[in-house]
Amino acid sequence: MSSHRVDYLAIPAWTKGWLTILGGLAAVIAIAGLSVLYMEHQGHWVTGMTNQVVWGMPHVFAIFLIVAASGALNVASIGSVFGREVYQPLGRLSALMAMALLAGGLGVLVLDLGRPDRLIVAMTHFNFKSIFAWNVILYSGFFAVVGFYLWTMIDWRMKKVYKPAAITAFLWRLILTTGTGSIFGFLMARDAYNSAVMAPLFIAMSFAFGLALFILFLMGSSTALARPLSQELLRKKGRLLGLFIAANLYFVAIQHVTALYQADRGPVEAFILLHGGVYTWLFWGAQIALGGIVPLILVLRPQATRCHLRAASVLVVLGGMAQIYVILIGGQAFPLTLFPGMEVSSSFADGQVNAYVPTLAEILLGLGGFALALLLTIIGASAFRILPQSLGDGEEATAEVIDAEGEPLAAQ
């Protein structure tokens, strides 16, 4: 094991390219801000959300980003908690992206509240029986725990607590995603939710979505910064992504097969899987085929190219958005069952499939969340030494690796 220490280099700031990218992202965020002002000033009646479909497109974006945030931390956890040295040089970026994605998701979630001005109320009034209240604590704590973990990776004086910080962050992210999945798992009223499988399903989703976003940022940044990136490292990540895609598909299968076995869940399953219109198309076409099977084939090719891996990651992201759309909107579109076995009608849409068409303002708000996450990642990687100088093969291979005791080890 040859030992060579190498540096992490901050992204050079204030260059033309840097300013262009950040300017573009700031513009997207500003447009999202204007969308929020419009929706909050007019009230939610100008959105596609109604008294029947109460959570809409902003929540699809927010949940995707929050779920992906905990998944993005996995690369760091695999390196530190599970001791896979090849992943250790990427731990800093992994932790930074996790925090940035969570900030983007929470930004969207909070700005869609009916009373976003009362955010302080959510921070000061806690109903501890509510999984939402627990999530407020878990999300806030995530910044503290992962921020501290990042500190231990950057500052040599903190090496003694590197491993405990890594384990804490890993456990915290598992609990956090369990909490996010349980938002749905605890809803006994809705036939499409109300299942314990929601928690592990969301964890599997987070693994896939977070790694896909991580790979995309890594490839994009190495190209933009002209830093070497090993093909073998990418293939390893691709195979890991394949494993996570398969885990997601497995839990989706469990989710639906379990429900199909229960007679009273038959109608909602038939709706999602067979005759739910846009939801059925999104489920089979976008979530399962394009977001699951196609990327799985791409990443498992023995000679997968960068192009394959990039395409697979983009498909996992798009398929993930479709998956959350089907769970969230599809689950609300299906009517509540007040009188099992009966046909019902009312002035309040009882018994009807509830319509939902997202408006432009909602989509712009959601895209603002993505832009905020990317902006924070770039600023963070510009202010601190986050990205390795090189992730190349052979002579190019340079990476700083830390073992459990905090001693620098060799890489590659």
Binding site: N51, W55, G114, R115, L336
Partner: protein, 243 residues
């Protein structure tokens, strides 16, 4: 003489008796005694309704109209986002063809899912079982609307005008049936029940489920009643007959 004296004594006795008994006797009994200002709601009460669907006509919306007037809910002609605290649901058994109609509102559950899921505690249950939203601390997250098995809550989707003092509303907060808590606290009964009795089929009976002598308790102890989605175990305070 004796006869006159006896008659006078009888009248006196009748007058004394009337004065003594009258406070506890009225021809149309109010649903409850008014609660003094500052006196908290008591767990000795459990307010509820009994709705006889055989007396509820499909075309009648007396309860719905009364609720809108009482609570100041304007019709903005946007059915998807207009608030509805109470609605008429028509139910058909496709196998038998049997049809009936019934009003559905907040069921004021003993174990309300909306209260369980509310992150701030804005969604809350009074000691007397009435489920309310504290609009001072509602952040408008709508998780309670996701959790309610009865779809009983609405979201204030726009600025509110011409509000009623008894039902202050605010854009961005969740709201729903209060069982007319303001009327109950004043010793009255909900507006829907009053309207059903006056303009509808007198299908709704309001009372204290905790008082074994109340009419509602007497009836549910003798007659078969059921609750919507009783299988969920949330123990609604609204009981129905004929569903």
């Amino acid at each position: 003489m004796n006869h006159d004296t006896t008659r006078r004594d009888l009248l006196k006795a009748a007058a004394v008796g009337a004065v003594t008994i009258a406070p506890g006797l009225t021809l149309i009994a109010p649903a409850a005694q008014a609660r003094a200002l500052g006196q908290p709601a008591s767990a000795t009460n459990r307010w509820g309704l009994l709705i006889d669907t055989s007396k509820c006509d499909s075309g009648c919306t007396a309860c719905v109209d009364a609720c809108k007037t009482e609570m100041g809910l304007p019709a903005l002609d946007r059915p998807a986002t207009d608030a509805q605290y109470i609605r008429k649901v028509d139910v058909t058994d496709l196998k038998t063809g049997n049809q009936h109609s019934l009003p559905v509102m907040c069921q004021h559950c003993a174990h309300p899912p909306c209260v369980d899921v509310c992150p701030t505690g804005a969604s809350m249950k009074r000691a007397d079982g009435i489920v309310l939203v504290d609009r001072h601390i509602c952040i408008g997250c709508r998780y309670c609307m996701m959790a309610c098995p009865y779809k009983a809550r609405s979201f204030a989707h726009e600025d509110q005008t011409d509000q009623k003092a008894v039902n202050p509303r605010g854009k961005g907060c969740v709201e729903g049936c209060t069982l007319c808590a303001h009327r109950i606290d004043a010793g009255g009964q909900p507006a829907c029940v009053e309207a059903c009795s006056k303009d509808g089929g007198a299908a709704m009976l309001f009372g204290d489920l905790n008082d074994p002598k109340s009419e509602i308790s007497q009836r549910i102890s003798k007659e078969a009643t059921s609750r919507i989605r009783a299988d969920l175990g949330v123990e609604p305070a609204i009981r129905y007959q004929g569903i």
